[in-house]
Amino acid sequence: MADDLKYLRALLTSDSAVISELYKDTLPKVKKFVVQNKGCVEDAEDIFQKALVQIAVRYKKNPFSIKSSFKAFLFTACKNLWRRELNKSSHWVTKDIEEEQFYIKNEDAHVLLEQERLELFQVALDLSSDNCKSILEMFFNDVSYADMVKDLAYSSETVARQRVFKCKKKLIELIKDSPRFNALREL
């Protein structure tokens, strides 16, 4: 989309007039989201800047096109960054110190890869059937098999469990088939 290219290029050329449009249009939505979810206006501003830088770096490394609009893409990036921020405090509790130091030193790169991996997983889930998508979303959000049977009209919990196993297997195959998977996998 030409409109998206305009914003992507504006980031790499530091075109403040075009970038200001994003501040005017998208930042208020980000503020609303962050404030509604345990943050403050200052947090929203930080997240917004980080998301713009992150998108610029990604575009510089591998120019990409955006399926939705740039503003929707930016908003999703901000939501993800805030979700990450909320989970950050519990992350290093039992991890290796050396690994932690490497992570902190290269945090920007790690965040970027985490975002790319999330998108890769989301694309694979979107490629799954509607039924698989529904049952997996329930499964990963700890919904009980009893509730799955009720909500998705399966005949028994055993059937629901088998369905989860099959859908999960297919999802993992889709992820592993992606050319991006190797760069994002853990060693």
């Binding site: 530091s14 996998r185 060693l187």
Partner: protein, 266 residues
Amino acid sequence: MITPDNLLLEKYFKNSLTHEEHAQFEIRKKDSKFVEQLIIEQQLHDTFHKAGWSFANNVDKTVISEYQELFNDEDIVNLKATLKNIDHSSEPIKSRYDFRWKHLIYAAAASVVIIISVSQFNGTNSTPDHVYATYLDKNQLTYSIVRDGDSQSALDEATALFIDEKYKEAMPIIENSIITSQENLPAFYLLKGISLMEMGSYDDAIIAYDQLISSDFLDAEKGYWYKGLLYLKKGDEKKALMIFNKIRKEHLYNAGKATEIIELLN
């Protein structure tokens, strides 16, 4: 009996491995294919759980270094400087500090209420109604509200009425705030639910809590906590226990307190 890998992993993530299965799990972890499956399933759980996040650990260091270098690229450094300037020039300095000190006042008020309610609870009287009165902390809710400039006076008025237990008078203001203010919606749903609950309008209060539960807000899970308290107040111990068990099992908001209530009632 050998548990299949699929089931073993599922039980691991649900924290429900038996002693034998735990031993089997440790043995299976010596198999690199099993570990690969474990890692990707962990990532899937962390990614697709609405409140979670999958952190990237132990990724190829060359890939990491390539990306990290780009953050110091000239174009990106220029962009960072531009964003800093745009931020300073175009963003109005909102009453950020104004609502922060208000938080402190409300937090202080909440602490007083907590101390009073804890000291009143002698641990022997555990009727549902008494447990309800002990665990309902209305001030805890009000201090998390963030003020926005436009509706501040209405909000202050509603909150003051709510704290004074003038629920009937507070309701129209709360209802109006739900319609007109996009900020603090989770807190408003709870203000509405608790006000209705205190007035004995249980069915309407449940609707308010369910609206919160079915929303996408990160605070949606608080709806379960207050719904559980509602059933306690209503005297429906069975339904209350069902909800508190769900909170405990799924580690939702106030899972520790839910466990206490379950122990008190059983």
